[in-house]
Amino acid sequence: MSADINKLEQIASQVRRDIVRMVHACQSGHPGGSLGCTDYFVALYFYAMKHDPSFNMDGVGEDLFFLSNGHISPVFYSTLAHAGYFPASELSTFRKMDSRLQGHPTTHEGLPGIRIASGSLGQGLSVAIGAAQAKKLNKDSSLVYVLMGDGELQEGQVWEAAMYAPHNKMDNIIAAIDYNGAQIDGSTEDVLSLGNLRAKWEAFGWDVLDVEQGNDMTSVIRGLDEAKSRSGKGKPVMILLHTKMGNGVDFMMGSHKWHGIAPNDEQLASALAQNAETLGDY
């Protein structure tokens, strides 16, 4: 499948606008990681994945996506809305009372597109493995994608799952790590060093590839193509997605400070000036 890079970049621009507007409107949420992963989400839902926005929980015959680092819910919600899972107008309810768009994603309110609650870190890879096991039992050859944060790798459960997937030849999983080197309290290097991530995942038995430019749509597409070509060959696939926290908004970029705070009115205006309205604001 050939990708229309220009179109994907236009969608990404709108998703970035949605993210800062959603977080600004409720003065809470996590813009940094959301902006950093925007290109990846858009590439997944508008290029790589075979999926059906009419949404069936079991997703038989569809590729599935699980978000393990649930705090980047704004990018997930905006992407799902533009992919047709629910009306974009609902983005205005983010983090407000009686909303299906909870602070962290949940199935509890029945929001189409969400298959597991996440937010308490470290659990998504295990869930993805289970869903991938079900696909194998069902003779369903579609793929299971999962995204984790890099700071999240400090959770022990991740490494239980890391050990399980290669042992059981879970080659229908394409995992990715948002490798931005930042977490709430500072750089991952300062808080708790991740060491050589490629060597660690390879040592556990994963097929690892780097996407060095995780905020360049062409690179992301190429990386996803490569990851898919490596699936089905006996090993789970891991993408080390090198991103910049806050990508696309100059004053947020590359700083852990924008992990979980909201822009003020002036900052919002500046952020929106840097990202064109392409699909219409909600």
Binding site: H108, I116, A117, G130, A134, E160, N168
Partner: protein, 317 residues
Amino acid sequence: MKKYTYTESKDTRSGFGAGLLEAGRQNDNVVALCADLIGSLKMNDFIKEFPERFFQIGIAEANMMGIAAGLTIGGKIPFTGTFANFSTGRVYDQIRQSIAYSDKNVKICASHAGLTLGEDGATHQILEDIGLMKMLPGMTVINPCDFNQTKAATLALVNHEGPAYLRFGRPVVPNFTPADQTFEIGKAVMLNEGTDVTIIATGHLVWEAIQAGEELETLGINAEIINIHTIKPLDEEAVLNSVTKTGCVVTAEEHNRLGGLGDSIAQLLATKRPTPQEFVAVNDSFGESGKPAQLMEKYGLNAASIVAAARKVITRK
């Protein structure tokens, strides 16, 4: 007093193993997971017959709960198996977020609950698991009393949509309930109708309650005995009807008195029908190593303790 007899004593965990095998035969979507305790959980027969539907997770219970949650996406009905301690406290947040809050149809099956695990001691003798699990919204909590009832409960869970916790144990206990029983989740079982005191027991304490009823009869006390195998949802009607008749109640369980069956009954009665109650349960302590019967005596979880509690609560009417 109605007479209860049995021809053999068996462990409740073997009831689970037998139920799991039958469940696998009845429904192709039933799958099983275990964290390196296949023999202890009696899962061998299921694995032998359905090797492709069994997942050996290794000693990684958090991962097991997550994988179980994921397996439901695609229509599987996962039954996880490990000791009660590692099925609950160790993985509470995984159960809370990935299973309970996510409304996943996972059956958490837990053996070696309570003091009767015996010699391994307090590290493994969880006495808080019922409380932990009943606090989770939407979680069904079941603690059957013997082999036949555990088998029936396991089968009932196949057709029950939603997360559930099934608690059973290691020792052999009298297998007195019918082999052909229908297990109704949330429905209390009346074992003996009486007028002087209600004894509500769960799990291994149900047989002790029957023995206590026989002893009380010799003292001229007519006990009503109810087996509450489902702690959540609680059969409120059965409890209220009984205490309306008897005017006092003893609850009996192999669990901490904080958070267990007794707590649930007390909360119900405090709001609907205040009634004198005595608790036969572990008094907010950890267990220790020893023979199961020795431990049950030391911690006051046997027929004699139920008799004493019944005599005491009658005086409080």
